[in-house]
Symmetry: C2
Subunit: 146 residues, 2 copies
């Protein structure tokens, strides 16, 4: 199966140094630093990459599940929020919040009540953090299923 | 501690649909599809984002460990390669290969023999996949420690 790669360079010490990552496909790249990772400074960091991966994977997985179930989605949007905390001597991702909005013509409300088809459980790349999951589904122009 | 977020939209079915992800900081974004994720087509995918996160995190963590040990690195570069495989009915990241090159004036070769300071173990966001790790360290202009 496919292997994807990326590179990242860090120059200098932890607090004053600077990092740069780049996708092997050259589709994206970015700069990061101690302030952008741990002090809320404007910019990106590894946790934002993890959030993007989870959001992309979940939207795609839920679309696949809905299509398999006979009610393909028109559009699925996921927002992933990734929290890092100090644990012991190091840092860990302790929480991943996933908020999904989907537009699915003909959607069975029972599918939503049963947890949205289990697409979340099928995600690769999910670590050992605590996850929270919420979803809002629209069947047509004005019917909503929560 | 900080929370980072990203959004991703999927439109259409699994094989013919298309996805787009975007960092909350607006530092990066990209398009992905079934072919770019599973068929080796040119472009990005969630596993490339995971690889970038791990590479960025490991380069930064090793720099922190070396600085703490009294031999700060001038430069650390990591290449991460992430493999996804079909497991049961779904897909999982089954392998993450991490290749590190570091330039560290005054580096203690014992530190390298002992596994490079354990920076890898301290990484947040590492899932349950099999990891392989290799490293090449340069102490100055021409001394190498493998």
């Amino acid at each position: 199966m496919p292997t994807s790669n990326a590179t990242a360079v860090w120059e200098g010490g932890l607090k004053a140094g600077r990092g740069h990552f780049k996708a092997g496909s050259a589709s994206f790249e970015g700069d990061h630093s101690f302030p952008t990772r741990f002090e809320g400074a404007r910019g990106t960091n590894p946790e934002e990459l993890i959030a993007a991966a989870h959001a992309a994977c979940l939207s795609m997985a839920l679309s696949a599940g809905l299509e398999k179930g006979g009610t393909p989605a028109t559009r699925i949007s996921t927002k992933a929020s990734c929290t890092i905390d100090k644990v012991g001597d190091g840092f860990k991702i302790t929480k991943m919040r996933l908020e999904v909005r989907g537009k699915v013509p003909g959607l069975d409300p029972g599918w939503v009540r049963q947890g949205g088809g289990g697409g979340k459980e099928g995600m690769p790349g999910v670590g050992r953090c605590r996850e929270t999951f919420s979803s809002t589904w629209t069947r047509g122009s004005n019917r909503k299923c929560h």
